[in-house]
């Protein structure tokens, strides 16, 4: 399969995503410049973390107007897989591809540490290699990762099982102290109702090797790989 990693001005984690996919998972990856149009032929587009446009107005607000984003919206509409990590998640929310918004951490501080995530749904292309209820240990590093959605949206998220990962403690329980940023309902990542667009605040690409403290991040990427394999097979079998 082919991965595209978008480079916005101010991106920081594009190389991490690239290296993780290429060296840890042997994938075909390309960088995509934000001023270019999106070409066809990709199976999954990643919007990596960082500080697009310095996060100066609101995180992700300006990047969503980059020329490439039109193509991403179209790609998503046609069922293409789109993964937004951290700032990428914020951009997807700003672009309306994902519901809700990410606001200042309740502590008002940037926070960098390892967290535990509980996989809430495993019937999506981003979590199918994990088991429901499985714990993943991933790093977070953000100042604006507090997930917010209005009550109506939140209800829909629950009904459609769009919350894919939650912050939990080492025993898999949600609690205020295990929620690093004050996110509503401990939400760490959500997908759209078509289940082909997923955004999360933690960084799977920085947890791709034992030597870095965790390789649980691979679960997310290998889910996508598995899902694409299946899709391809299905398409091939007609």
């Amino acid at each position: 399969m082919r991965w595209g990693v978008i480079v916005f001005p101010g991106c920081c984690d594009e190389q991490d995503v690239y290296d993780c996919l290429k060296h840890n998972l042997g994938q075909r990856v390309e960088f995509l410049w934000h001023k270019d149009r999106l070409n066809g032929g990709f199976d999954c587009i990643v919007l990596p973390g960082g500080f697009s446009y310095g996060d100066y107005l609101r995180c992700g607000a300006m990047a969503r107007f980059s020329p490439i984003m039109q193509g991403v919206v179209e790609f998503a509409r046609l069922g293409g897989l789109v993964l937004g990590i951290c700032n990428g998640f914020q951009i997807l929310c700003e672009a309306g591809l994902l519901p809700g918004a990410l606001v200042r951490n309740a502590s008002l501080q940037f926070i960098c540490r390892q967290v535990f995530l509980r996989v809430e749904e495993s019937d999506t292309p981003f979590t199918c290699a994990a088991k429901k209820g499985q714990l993943l240990r991933l790093p977070i590093k953000h100042g604006e990762g507090c997930y917010y959605a209005d009550p109506g949206t939140l209800e829909r998220l629950h009904k459609n099982r769009q919350v894919l990962v939650r912050y939990v403690d080492g025993k898999g329980r949600t609690s205020p102290s295990a929620n690093p940023n004050g996110s509503l309902d401990h939400i760490a990542g959500v997908c759209n109702d078509g289940r082909n667009v997923f955004g999360l605040m933690p960084h799977p690409e920085d947890a791709g090797e034992k030597i870095l403290g965790s390789e649980d991040g691979l679960k997310i990427f290998s889910s996508v790989i598995a899902a694409c394999d299946k899709r391809e097979k299905r398409a091939w079998l007609g």
């Binding site: 991106c11 984690d13 996060d55 926070i111 960098c112």
Partner: protein, 750 residues
């Protein structure tokens, strides 16, 4: 020449007051007149004042800095360039340096610290290296001083705000509080980058006719005379005379970083230097000096942010996120194309000349004409008087008889663990992204950070250390200890030192006592560098850290970089499993002078700092490194502030998992407080499996490192028989929350 200093803009005429306000002495002014063969105009005076400032010219420190050993097998670039360079094999080099941003951070902590980080990052990528790790060394006043919490939170969020946004992980640092820094905080920022050995760039202007290209942010009236400000002591007066504070723009820095690295892949570039202190003036003059050329600048072409800026202001502005580069003639458009891609200005503002003059034009008129050497090698150099202060002997007198040993040493241990200098620094480093670039093998919280080098089996270890209190009590020994501790911290993770960079933070060089401290510290550092085999490859001097005539503690901070051949063969400080043997490398001595314990518990800063034998130090370090390389060691942690008691506690509680207890018995007979909290040097606590003890002993014997098994990991208590026995959970609670509780206690959360 007739038009020199003519209209189109009015320049004040020069008088004694103006000369003084530029920080130039009468003699210095005379010398300027001599060099030029005429009176300088106002703009030229400005140029001289910044280039001859302490900050840019190192005029008081030069003669002493010569002492430091700067050569070594791995050194490719020593002091004199934007940063030092060491070879790390595989065709790669590590480029690193440390810089101070003390004064600006005191005036505006967030922006001061942020722009400090921005400046050091530019020093690194200007040489063609991609920055991959930063450290910071911080000193604040007493925690009870009303401004401390404000300054602390501002500085920490400024460092994070900038570094995080640029995508460079901050992987370590140090933080120390003492009254001595009440009105002069220290903010020293360190960055390391990696470059290809074949693709190193330098700050040089060569080849007459080549273009000078200005790239990056536009110029405003920021920080005009920042360099001279950093060369003056604080007073009410200078606080009022605040220059426009520089505001950092990390987003632009990130673009600049990417654009420069992209440009460096091609073949257009002759030289490049960031516009740091003294802005366009120093970057142009220094590049010309290194290249043995002249430069000609057309100031009317400099991109401006504000209206009606004068040539004086344009030349002296310290606006951030700007670079000056020298491109091959005919390649200007290639440069412009790359910067356009990144939405940055790139404007040809002049050219390299043969005449070895620094010339600047504005609206067609020549406004500056100065021989380049006058601004570089011919700048004044002083051998300032140095004298050991009267009170030094008294300072070193410590009568232990008069100091009572606390009854409850367990309570004392807790008190120390909770005190700001010893408590966990997690409140600080959790505000820094330490994962980005996915290289961080050992994150903040250990003796040194470990960063793997992608594409190889290797890793780099980084640390920054320095103890101003030791230097205050005995600057020579203090200088040794700063270097020794840094090297020891590297040894604890298993790295062999490649080189070091330093920030030398002192009071006014015009004081003989300060100059004495300075020269003593440097001699100490030199002796340690030579014995431990660590060359100095870059550094920075910050004088005038004093307020109302009271200087800070002499505070050298040492940033040291080491190499690990196999990334997986590294150690961390915390205990790994019950049953492991606890071994003490080195010797316990009865020493309390200058200790954290004396300060925190008894309020005393006296005595002599711990004794050190550099050969013993070397033996202990070598033994630790070799044992880690052989995979024998399960944990290693050196002793520093707080001595054995605190070190053991940290081994128990600083790990990511549940705390582990320890049972220890000590043989030496000495006072309980000295035994637990004395800060004798050259000591490392290591743990290993019992079956490895013989192998370890062989290494220790071979290296000549004293060792003794002092206990065993296990249980829920830290027990040092018969002095203390405290549940580790209690220790962890006080240590982990110490800093944050104090901050909250002060009611400051902004």
């Amino acid at each position: 020449m007739a038009r020199l200093g003519a209209k189109p803009y009015d320049q004040p005429s020069i008088n004694a007051e103006i000369i003084a306000s530029h920080g130039l002495s009468e003699d210095e002014y005379k010398r300027i007149v001599e060099i030029l063969g005429r009176e300088p105009n106002y703009t030229e005076l400005g140029v001289f004042s910044v280039m001859w400032s302490e900050h840019c010219s190192y005029k008081s420190s030069k003669v002493h800095l010569k002492l430091l050993p700067t050569d070594g097998p791995a050194v490719l670039q020593g002091p004199g360039e934007n940063a030092g360079i060491v070879d790390i094999g595989n065709g790669q080099v590590a480029v690193f340096k440390m810089e101070s941003h003390n004064h600006p951070s005191f005036i505006e902590p967030y922006q001061g610290a942020a722009t400090g980080v921005g400046g050091i990052l530019r020093d690194i990528f200007t040489m063609g290296a991609r920055p991959i790790a930063s450290l910071n060394s911080l000193r604040f006043g007493s925690f009870d001083h009303p401004r401390t919490p404000y300054l602390l939170s501002g500085v920490v969020s400024g460092i994070g705000g900038y570094g995080n946004c640029v995508g460079v992980p901050t992987v370590g640092g140090e933080l120390f509080f003492d009254e001595s820094y009440n009105a002069n905080i220290l903010v020293n920022a360190f960055t390391l980058g990696i470059a290809e050995k074949r693709r190193i760039f330098k700050g040089t202007a060569k080849g007459a006719g080549n273009s000078l290209i200005y790239v990056g942010a536009k110029t405003g009236r920021d920080g005009i005379h920042g360099a001279t400000m950093a060369s003056e002591a604080f007073s009410e007066e200078s606080e009022k005379r605040r220059p426009t504070v520089q505001v950092g723009d990390p987003f632009t820095e990130k673009l600049l970083l990417e654009a420069c690295l992209e440009l460096m892949k091609g073949h257009c570039l002759v030289g490049i230097q960031d516009m740091g202190a003294a802005g366009l003036t120093s970057s142009a003059a220094e590049m010309a000096a290194r290249g043995g050329s002249g430069v000609e600048l057309d100031l009317s072409r400099v991109p401006l942010r504000e209206r009606r800026m004068t040539p004086y202001e344009i030349l002296l502005s310290e606006s951030q996120e700007r670079m000056l580069l020298v491109a091959k003639k005919g390649k200007e458009n290639e440069v412009k194309r790359i910067f356009e891609k990144w939405d940055l200005d790139a404007v040809v503002v002049g050219k390299v000349t043969r005449d070895r003059l620094f010339r600047a034009f504005f609206d067609g008129a020549e406004v500056v004409r100065i021989p380049v050497v006058a601004l570089s090698s011919d700048a004044p150099v002083y051998s300032r008087p140095a004298e050991r202060p009267q009170g030094q002997d008294e300072l070193q007198r410590l009568d232990l008889e008069k100091i009572e040993v606390p009854k409850d040493l367990g309570a004392t241990l807790k008190l120390l663990l909770e005190s700001p200098n010893v408590a966990s620094k997690e409140w600080v480093f959790r505000q820094y992204d330490h994962f980005v670039r996915s290289n961080t093998v050992v994150a903040p919280g250990a003796d040194a950070a470990v960063i793997r080098i992608k594409g190889t089996d290797k890793a780099l270890a980084l640390t920054v250390d320095g103890n101003g209190r030791y230097c205050y009590l005995d600057p020579y020994v203090g200088g040794i200890l700063a270097v020794a501790e840094a090297a020891r911290n590297l040894a604890c993770v298993g790295a062999r030192p490649l080189g070091l960079t330093d920030c030398l933070n002192f009071g006014s060089p015009e004081r003989p006592d300060v100059m004495w401290q300075f020269s003593q510290v440097l001699q100490g550092m030199r002796d340690a560098c030579i014995t431990l085999g660590v060359p100095v490859v870059s550094g920075n001097v910050s004088f005038y850290n004093e307020t109302d005539g009271v200087p800070i503690y002499p505070t050298p901070t040492v940033g040291m970089v080491g190499l690990l051949q196999k990334v997986e063969r590294h150690a961390t400080p915390w205990f790994k499993s019950s049953g492991d043997l606890v071994v003490l490398l080195g010797r316990n001595r009865e020493e309390l002078g200058g200790s954290e314990y004396l300060k925190v518990v008894h309020g005393i800063v006296k005595g002599t700092p711990p004794w050190i034998d550099l050969r013993l130090e070397r033996a202990v370090q070598q033994c630790c490194i070799k044992a880690i390389e052989k995979g024998i060691i399960r944990s290693a942690h050196d002793m520093s502030e707080g001595g054995l008691g605190v070190t053991l506690a940290e081994c128990c509680i600083s790990g990511p998992e549940k705390p582990l207890g320890v049972r220890v018995e000590l043989r030496e007979m000495m006072r309980g407080d000295a035994r637990l909290f004395g800060e004798s040097q050259s000591r490392i606590i290591v743990t290993l499996r019992e079956k490895e003890l013989n192998r370890f002993r062989q290494i220790a014997v071979k290296e000549g490192a004293p060792m003794q098994v002092i206990g065993e990991v296990g249980g829920g208590h830290l027990a040092v028989h018969p002095l203390v026995r405290v549940p580790v959970d209690e220790l962890r609670a006080v240590w982990l929350g110490g800093l944050e509780r104090r901050l909250r206690g002060q009611g400051k959360e902004l």
